[in-house]
């Protein structure tokens, strides 16, 4: 049975998963959830994703949520199909360096990038007033983290080494949303971060999903 991706068409986390599905050339059926109607809080949804968040996958009865867990699962299920985005399971050091980079995304990038986007974009959508001072503080803190990225990306092409991994791809949804929030920080930090960000934002798998996820039956 074809994999089902249940999510919202332009949600950051849903697009994060869709990018990986496209990279790994995995056919999927997209089942859109209308969050404005509260469909993510319905009993039938919550029985699969108890936090009431998008997305989740239903892979022939195997339910999995959390976009970064789904990304890893897809790469481990289809190691020889599509792009190689994580080192082999028995490459213990390679996996460790991947997890180190993935942890950086979650710890050092996502909280600041997410809150910056929340302040200037998501608050408006909920009828709240953005606070530019808070936004500036978050961007300043993010710039400090990106100084370390600039050093890392001066020694190797991508965050886990010289091959692209999920750790790089996981950044794309919020990194690209930052521009909509009113900052060009991803292109101003230094030549290495700029080169890396440009390549990620132009990645064909992201371009295929960025304006809205749709079912893909073949590649």
């Amino acid at each position: 049975m074809v994999l089902k991706l249940v999510g919202a068409p332009v949600s950051t986390c849903t697009r994060r998963v869709a990018t990986v599905l496209v990279e790994k050339k995995v056919p999927f059926e997209f089942i859109p959830i209308d969050m404005s109607k509260g469909e993510h809080k319905a009993a039938s949804f919550v029985s699969n994703q108890p936090f009431g968040q998008v997305p989740y996958i239903d892979d022939d009865g195997f339910i999995l949520y959390e976009s970064r867990a789904i990304g890893r699962y897809l790469c481990d299920k289809y190691p020889d199909q599509g792009a190689k985005l994580v080192p082999a399971l028995n490459d213990v050091k390679g996996r460790a360096l991947f997890e180190q980079a993935a942890s950086n995304e979650y710890q050092n990038f996502d909280p600041l990038a997410y809150r910056a986007c929340f302040e200037m974009i998501f608050k408006k959508r909920r009828g709240l007033t953005p606070d530019p001072a808070v936004f500036e503080q978050l961007i300043t803190a993010l710039a400090a983290k990106l100084e370390a990225y600039e050093i890392i990306l001066g020694k190797q092409k991508y965050l886990a080494g010289d091959e692209i991994t999920l750790a790089d791809l996981f950044h794309i949804p919020y990194a690209t949303t930052l521009a909509l929030a009113g900052t060009d920080i991803m292109s101003k930090q230094g030549p290495n971060v700029t080169r890396w960000y440009k390549e990620l934002s132009e990645r064909p798998s992201w371009v295929a999903v960025k304006d809205g996820v749709q079912s893909m039956s073949s590649y």
Binding site: P50, F51, F62, L64, Y65, E66, S67, R68, A69, I70, R72, Y73, D76, K77, L89, V92, K93, R95, A96, L97, E99, Q100, A102, S103, N104, Y106, Q107, N108, P111, K145, A148, I151, I152
Partner: protein, 221 residues
């Protein structure tokens, strides 16, 4: 060469979970203490090891790794058959469920715990005022998330199934420190959550670690 752990003796944060996995997996290590008040984490020497200037990090016979949750996964992958079994299973679906639980810890648990910790401990220690409204809101959000944990833990014994895994272990990173500060986030939660927290926070290796601090070992016992 024995693994070097760059950290401190005090059991908190990333150091806590790495030290716990070293103990659970009976992995010998040498502790090289990095003193934070004197900014030993910001020396050029340490920044080569850890570009974000944090602790812990390890040097495993020349292989340098940072980010505590990455280190924990590495140690489990390197020593699958030693010490406590099944912390990071290799089966496709089993591992995916551990990663799901680990992601939940990062998204739905630790941000609120750290907000409370920051307001009640870090800010006062730097001469800044606690913002009680932030504490109250963080706790309110945390309790809503723990209501979902209650549902999950009614179906399985632990977060990723019926075995203790890294997904559960990662929760020991900061939450125990709230109890040290006199904040009880557990005793008014549901019975499943209370059962689970009691189970994971009274593991013998954890109790020993909290009592003795991070203590290097040169032999397995």
């Amino acid at each position: 060469m024995v693994l070097k752990l760059y950290a401190r003796k005090f059991v908190s944060g990333g150091t806590a979970i790495v030290a716990l996995v070293l103990a659970e997996k009976q992995i010998p290590f040498e502790l090289i203490e990095i003193d934070l008040p004197t900014n030993q984490n910001k020396t050029p020497e340490h920044l080569v090891r850890h570009p974000f200037g944090q602790i812990p990090c390890i040097d495993d016979d020349g292989f340098v790794l940072y980010e505590s949750r990455a280190i924990c996964r590495y140690l489990c992958d390197k020593y699958p058959d030693q010490g406590t079994q099944g912390l990071y299973p290799t089966g496709l679906k089993e591992r995916a469920l551990v990663e799901q639980g680990a992601s939940v810890e990062l998204t739905d648990f630790i941000p609120y715990v750290l907000q409370v910790f920051r307001e009640l401990y870090l800010k006062p220690s730097h001469g800044q005022q606690t913002d009680q409204a932030v504490v109250d809101q963080a706790l309110a959000e945390l309790y809503k998330k723990l209501d979902v944990y209650e549902v999950i833990l009614g179906k399985t014994k632990y977060l990723a199934g019926d075995e203790f895994t890294l997904a559960d272990l990662f929760h020991l990173l900061a939450a125990p420190r709230l109890a040290d500060l006199g904040v009880d986030i557990w005793s008014e939660r549901g019975p499943n959550v209370q059962r689970w927290w009691k189970d994971i926070s009274t593991r013998p290796a954890w109790l020993k670690l909290r009592a003795e601090g991070v203590t290097e070992t040169t032999t397995t016992n």
